[in-house]
Symmetry: C2
Subunit: 127 residues, 2 copies
Amino acid sequence: MARAATTSDIFNAIAEPRRREIVDLLARGYCRDVSELVRKLKLPQPAVSKHLRVLRKVGLVTVHKAGQRRLYELNVDELKPVHDWIQHFEQLWTDHLAGIKEAAETTARDLAARNRSAPGQQHCSKE
Amino acid sequence: MARAATTSDIFNAIAEPRRREIVDLLARGYCRDVSELVRKLKLPQPAVSKHLRVLRKVGLVTVHKAGQRRLYELNVDELKPVHDWIQHFEQLWTDHLAGIKEAAETTARDLAARNRSAPGQQHCSKE
DNA sequence: TTGACATATTCCCTAATGGGAATATAATAT
DNA sequence: ATATTATATTCCCATTAGGGAATATGTCAA
């Protein structure tokens, strides 16, 4: 198999820098039509429309017709899974990080020492 | 062009479900050797090694040699850009999604109340 | 050394990506 | 009706992704 379809996975949808830009632009000023996005992104219109389709398919944006324009609106809710996933690393990089790391390395040294006499167990060791 | 190389972009690196699994596994228990990952992921060893290489290239993991094993350690810091990017939608979650059933969480009522007293900004014309 | 184990790399393959160009569809104006 | 504007879709193409299989590299043990 190749990679997971971008049209079915939020993580893939936002893996595209251009699509993140679009999301950013939609994030402030709730509505934007395609032409405006084209101008800001300096990308050909078909390309923008294609990215928008991907974002639509994963539910990250919704469209409303306004005359001949299509007004895109961000549906931030769909970013929740990403947020949640990232969230559970929060504790690892805040102020606790140094302490945890140190503790882990201390433990690693102990394990390493113990392991010298009774090898075969996995352990951390620097180099 | 195809998409930005996964080896140069964190967002692409974590777009792969398997790689997120690896990151998850590394998140608890700082060191894991490849064999252990292979067992947990139920994925052929070469596949795992390849994913690990990607994660290495973007700096999300580091390796330490321990005999014939390679102990992988998570470098959470590299997730910061993702976290930061997601973070500036936090506001929208709070303000814009207040009315949406965001939760069985206790904050739901508070948010709704706040939203009533400080009503919304511009919205899209529906349809 | 030989052999077993742990990990990485290479080659091959199919599927999917994203841009470009051209075209299709839709709405508005004249 | 025709023209013009706004957006979407299609076709083509070079690039890449990621799994499978085989192989290479590295490390330990007897």
